[in-house]
C-alpha cells in the first residue's frame, strides 16, 4: 500500500472526531491499513526515505500561515505508521514533527511525541566500539642485535667440487 492511502477521509474523520493525541494513536494503531503501509515501507526499506520525504514535501506546499493545515490527519497517521519502523528516516520525521510548535498543526506534533516515546520503549539502540590491537612484534632477520642464533663463522666449502675432482 502506498503512502497516499493516508489521505483517506476515514483517517481524517478519526483525527477530527477524537480529541486527544492518545486516543488518535490508539485508534490508528489498531487499523489494518496503517499496519499494511508500515509493512510496505519495511519491505521496501531502500526506497522508504525518498517515499516519506516526497510525501511530506508534496503536502507541505499547502501549509499556509493562520490556516489549519489540511493534511494534519495524514501526518498523524504517518507518525503512527513510522513509530515502530527501525529506520533513520522514521526517526528523523518523528523527531522533527514532535519538535514543531505551530498553531497550524496543533495535534500532529503531540501525536509524533507519543509515537517517539513508544518507539524508545520498543526499539533497540546500539553502541558501536572498534579496537585496533597493535601488530605482533616480529623478529627482524636483518637486525644485528639478533641473539637467538649464533653468528655464522666462515668455513671452507663442505660440498664436493665435482669439476676439481674430475680434473
Amino acid at each position: 500500500m502506498a503512502l497516499v492511502e493516508l489521505d483517506s477521509d476515514e483517517i481524517a474523520q478519526i483525527v477530527f472526531t477524537v480529541a486527544t493525541p492518545n486516543g488518535i494513536c490508539a485508534i490508528l494503531r489498531a487499523r489494518s491499513d496503517i499496519a499494511e503501509i508500515r509493512r510496505h515501507l519495511f519491505d521496501n526499506a531502500g526506497d522508504a526515505r525518498r517515499a516519506i520525504e516526497d510525501y511530506v514535501r508534496e503536502r507541505l506546499i499547502d501549509l499556509k500561515p493562520k490556516t489549519y493545515f489540511p493534511h494534519e490527519p495524514a501526518f498523524c497517521a504517518l507518525a503512527v505508521v513510522l513509530e515502530t519502523l527501525p529506520m533513520p528516516a522514521a526517526e528523523d520525521f518523528l523527531s522533527e514533527l514532535s519538535a514543531l510548535k505551530i498553531a497550524e498543526m496543533p495535534i500532529s506534533s503531540r501525536v509524533a511525541a507519543l509515537c517517539l516515546q513508544r518507539r524508545r520503549e520498543l526499539l533497540i539502540s546500539n553502541t558501536l566500539a572498534e579496537f585496533k590491537v597493535g601488530p605482533i612484534p616480529m623478529p627482524d632477520a636483518s637486525s644485528p642485535k639478533r641473539l637467538d642464533r649464533p653468528p655464522r663463522i666462515p668455513t671452507e666449502t663442505t660440498y664436493p667440487d665435482i669439476f676439481k675432482a674430475a680434473a
Binding site: 526499506a45 527501525p86 529506520m87 520503549e121 533497540i124 539502540s125 546500539n126 553502541t127 590491537v133
Partner: protein, 137 residues
Amino acid sequence: MAHMEFFVVSEDLSVDQQTNRVSLFNVLEQIAGPNFPLVLPSAAAISLWVAEAGDEGRDFQCMLRIILPNARQHDFTSNFRFGARRHRVIQRLQGFPIDEPGVLRFEVLLNGEHKASHEVDVSRIDASDLPPTAETG
C-alpha cells in the same frame, strides 16, 4: 540493574542501517593455525542488554575481557546509556594476537560484574593439514 539477553562472539557482524536487524557471520568456536603467535584478523562481540526500572539516564560500562591461553588478559571498555529499553553493545577487534594453543575466553562484564563468557578452542595444526592453495601459472 540491567540484565543481559545474549552474548556472542563472531568473526564479523552487520547492523542493517534501514531495518536495524543484526546478522552475525561465522560465530567463533574453534581457531586453528600452524604457527604461533597467530593473529585473529577480526572479531566482533555483541551483547544485548535490557533496562530495568531506574536504569534510564544511568551510565553503564560494558567491558569485553579477553583471557588468552597463557592467562594474560586484555580489557576493552565501552560506556553506554539506554536510549531505548533494549540496547546492543557491539565491540569489534582487529588484529588480535594469540600466543599459544589452548582456550581463548571472551568475557563480558557490566559495571565490573561478570555476566557471560564465550570460549573458543585454539589449536595447532600441521601445515600439511591445511587445504591446498590454488596453483598459479
